[in-house]
């Protein structure tokens, strides 16, 4: 029992937020009399939050590097506007438009990254300028109006579902199958990590805890897939999201680039003197953010089926809050992808739950602000206790 307490203490940040997320979900499930976990609502929840999660992945890297990006909401808007104008006014094939949009996102990231990394202007200022410029460009591009509707194929990015190859008649069998495969992969990875740790004599979690943890994860994955399967199956966006989360979780924890980003955020001079080209690395961190903001911009445009001048307004705040709620440190060097994802979903569930309950947008913002403060307080408190 002692080891379990110690284990919990050491990982309180990781588990704490997950427990908070579950608690908030249960609370809203009760308060909304079961609406929250309805298949259609769960599907909506995922769709509504996909862009925040997408951008949180890029923002996490920037925050871990020790910087910030305030412009992502405006980038979402300008990319959506550009895509809309190209598809509707110029009638360009939507696949080509997606490719152009991603390139433009990269160019925007490169522009801001150049100012931050090479010209050494603080990112707060550079991206505040970007925040204004890209919003202005959006309005100019759209001439103040909404542009739409879009071709079916483009809309499907957001509102489409994966096809069911088994034709389960109202129950999406492919979804269940994907869920099972995913569960197996997760269990296999966990077993492999555990074996490695044992091999090198590291303390591992007690076996019963390991079993319970994996049962929990499997239950969550399968539960989610079951809910999705009984509606229309897995949304395309969710598949994209899974792929992105897996790729970024892998990148941050297992690759040379990930290791270097954390080193740069932890001590930029030590990283530089160890041969890490910190200037270039920081530059590419911003390019990456630009691309992910473009992805989010496309998802938003596809979901609304129009490009609007105020798309993505205030979104940067949700994205940044997700990272900090997920345990990233404002001074850099600390933060996990999974944390940012949990943070994003916590905000998403709050938004969704409160909307169902009929809480106004005014009080929603107050509640989100309080949650952000509490999460960071929790961090600071834990840090001081361990010091």
């Amino acid at each position: 029992m002692k080891t379990l307490t110690a284990l919990f203490k050491n990982n309180i940040r990781d588990y704490g937020m997950l427990i908070a997320l579950i608690a908030v979900m249960v609370f809203f499930q009760v308060q909304t009399k079961g609406v929250l976990f309805r298949p259609v609502n769960i599907t909506n929840l995922v769709l509504q939050n996909s862009y925040v999660v997408t951008m949180a992945l890029g923002m996490l890297l920037i925050i871990v590097s020790g910087w910030i990006d305030l412009s992502v909401g405006s980038v979402v808007a300008v990319v959506g506007a550009l895509a809309g104008v190209l598809m509707v006014r110029y009638d360009i094939n939507w696949v080509v438009v997606v490719a152009i949009s991603l390139l433009v996102g990269a160019a925007i990231g490169a522009f801001q990254g150049y100012w931050v990394a090479y010209l050494k202007i603080p990112s707060f200022i550079v991206t505040l300028a970007g925040f204004l410029m890209f919003r202005g460009l959006t309005i100019a591009l759209l001439q103040g109006e909404s542009v739409g509707p879009f071709p079916r194929g483009f809309q499907n990015i957001s509102s489409g579902f994966i096809p069911d190859i088994f034709n389960g008649k109202g129950f999406h069998i492919t979804t269940i199958l994907i869920g099972m495969i995913l569960s197996f992969i997760l269990i296999w990875l966990d077993i492999r990590t555990r074996k490695n740790q044992q091999k090198y004599g590291f303390e591992v979690t007690p076996f019963y805890f390991f079993v319970i943890k994996n049962i929990g994860i499997t239950a969550a994955v399968m539960g989610l897939c079951y809910l999705m399967a009984s509606y229309k199956g897995l949304p395309n966006v969710l598949v994209l999201l899974f792929a992105l989360i897996a790729a970024y979780a892998f990148m941050t924890s297992q690759t040379v680039i990930g290791r270097r980003i954390y080193a740069m955020g932890g001590n930029v001079k030590a990283a530089m003197l160890s041969g890490v080209n910190t200037t270039r690395l920081l530059f590419y961190t911003f390019v990456n953010m630009g691309v992910l903001a473009a992805v989010a911009g496309l998802i938003v445009a596809a979901r609304l089926n129009s490009a609007t001048p105020n798309a993505g307004d205030g979104m940067e705040l949700d994205v940044i809050a997700a990272c900090f709620i997920g345990g990233a440190s404002p001074t850099g060097g600390v933060g996990k992808v999974i944390g940012a994802v949990v943070g994003a979903f916590l905000i998403g569930v709050l938004n969704n739950g409160m909307s169902i309950m009929g809480v106004g947008i005014d009080w929603q913002k107050v509640v989100k602000g309080i949650v952000l403060l509490l999460a960071v307080l929790f961090d600071v408190y834990n840090k001081n206790k361990n010091a």
């Binding site: 297992q254 040379v256 954390y262 932890g266 160890s274 041969g275």
Partner: protein
């Protein structure tokens, strides 16, 4: 018995997993200089942090009596209020504020919240005079050298009406002259009835000024020696610190010096901000296979600047000159190119430049050579654990696990992590900048052993050190630097402290005359 000003009784302090202090008792009498010595990790700093309230009452066991009253400090302000001032190794001055502003920071001379500048300035001048520092109270801290900053810290302590001054490694970053001055000052204070606790690794200093010496080892008091009664030799102190006799301070080495493997010719470097100021002028140095080359000189002589400019132009602008390895010219214009060409530079400031403190030991060791443990950009973690485990054993790094954070290691062990990082990068030429600064006798010996082993493996080593005995004891050949120029070169076998000092000082004396 003279009056005891401070008594700490049965202090025990535990951190998760370690007992840092175990039933330590320690007392200081009125008006003495009491030295506290011990190896890194022996618990000196922890003890002082308990004393000054950094670790508040309740987080440790035991009692503290100051001037006969029991003290239960909750933070530093409370301990300062009774006249207990600690000056940390890392100076706590604000660089862009003036001396006067720093002196009265948190202790401002003010009426109703409005600062009385006249009083502040005149009081500052008075305090500076007491510490023998002739600077205007309006000078910005950033424009002063480390030696003077240290004096400002002491003046700051005086401003708080200090009764017991605690100095944690005050001379670690000072040159000989400044150190001398500082110790002189302590003796003056003693004459005025101010007691001090001096934590130092430099035993010659301890011997010079201390009235009594308390030795800590592994979190426990070993003994308190009284220097007023009998003379205590350095060897006697070392024996107490390490628990054994240390016959040689420098391990012997089988010398096997080969051909020249690295050479720098006509190296010129300019200051990065003041672009017309030259920091290295026409420097020529060579390093042979299996040779340890010393780079001696005063602080500010340009040794670190030279080393860093060679290491991938990490310092300076308008760098000119050529570098050769095995007779062939090599490109060292960026740090990754320098590393790829087999050059490594272990910094003098391990906390600021050497380590990512918030990361694991393992990640720090592999940072400069991630390619070695990865394939196609993906890190092979089992392999990483295996190799870092090997370095931990080989260099005897004391850590609970290679996953411990670098932050929580003692100075000597942090230094070994920095060394491991560069050994793992597998260089041919290794530049070590003050590798034993601020670490204890036992760890120093281990570092020297590592240097010997590397030389034995045929690597070329450049050792920058401010401690002459170290340069003489470890190196084969010595360069002396002054004002960014090489002013002397000699074989260690023909060198002596006096001879090196003569090269270091001559020019300055000429200029002063």
């Amino acid at each position: 018995m003279s009056d005891v000003i401070l008594e700490m009784r049965n202090i025990t302090k535990t951190f998760p997993g370690v007992k840092a202090l175990n039933n330590v008792s320690f007392s200081v009498t009125q008006g003495e200089i009491h030295a506290l010595v011990g190896e890194n990790g022996a618990g000196k700093s922890t003890l002082m942090n308990v004393l000054s309230g950094v670790y508040p009452y309740g987080t440790y066991d035991g009692e503290i009596y100051f001037q006969g009253k029991e003290c239960r400090f909750r933070d530093i302000t409370e301990s300062e209020k009774v006249g207990l001032v600690i000056i940390h190794q890392e100076l706590a001055l604000i660089p862009f504020l003036s001396v006067a502003e720093n002196l009265f920071l948190g202790n401002e001379r003010a009426k109703n919240g409005v600062i009385d500048w006249n009083e502040s300035i005149s009081k500052t001048a008075e305090l500076l005079d007491r510490v023998g520092l002739h600077e205007s109270p309006n000078t910005l801290i950033t424009n002063m050298g480390v030696g003077k900053q240290q004096l400002v810290e002491i003046a700051k302590a005086l401003a708080k009406e200090v009764k017991l001054l605690i100095l944690d490694e005050p001379t670690a970053s000072l040159n000989e002259t400044d150190s001398e001055k500082l110790l002189e000052l302590l003796l003056q204070f003693k004459a005025h009835g101010i007691s001090s606790i001096l934590i130092s690794h430099k035993l010659s200093e301890v011997n010079k000024v201390a009235d009594s010496i308390t030795i800590l080892r592994d979190g426990a008091t070993i003994e308190t020696l009284d220097c007023r009664k009998d003379t205590i030799t350095e060897d006697r102190i070392i024996r107490g610190m390490v628990g054994r006799d240390l016959t040689h301070r420098f391990p012997p080495r089988e010398k096997n010096i080969g051909e020249v493997i690295f050479e720098v010719r006509d190296w010129n470097v300019y200051h990065p901000l003041h672009e017309d100021r030259k920091v290295s002028t026409n420097v020529n140095i060579t390093v042979r296979k299996g040779e340890v080359v010393g780079l001696s000189g005063l602080m500010g002589a340009g040794r670190t600047e030279l080393a860093m400019s060679i290491f991938g132009h990490a310092y300076g602008t308008r760098i000119s000159g050529t570098a050769y390895k095995h007779g062939k010219e090599i490109d060292i214009s960026t740090i990754d190119k320098a590393i790829a060409n087999g050059i490594a530079y272990a910094t003098e400031d391990r906390k600021a430049y050497g380590l990512v403190l918030i990361q694991e030991v393992k990640n720090n060791i592999t940072l400069a050579n991630l390619e070695e443990i990865s394939s196609r950009q993906v890190i092979n973690e089992p392999q990483e654990m295996r190799v870092t485990g090997e370095y931990r054993d080989k260099l005897n790094i004391k850590c609970s696990s290679i996953r411990q954070l670098a932050l929580n290691l003692s100075g000597g062990n942090q230094q070994k992590v920095v060394l491991s990082k560069w050994l793992f990068a597998n260089p041919e030429i290794l530049i070590l900048d003050e590798p034993t600064r601020g670490i204890d006798v036992g760890a120093k010996y281990e570092i020297y052993t590592i240097i010997n082993r590397l030389a034995g493996e045929g690597k070329g080593i450049i050792l920058i050190s401010s401690e002459l005995p170290e340069i003489l004891g470890v190196c084969d050949r010595i360069y002396v630097m002054r004002d960014g120029k090489i002013v002397g070169e000699m074989l260690a076998s023909e060198a002596s402290q006096e001879k090196v000092m003569k090269y270091i000082m001559t020019q300055q004396e000429v200029m002063e005359q």
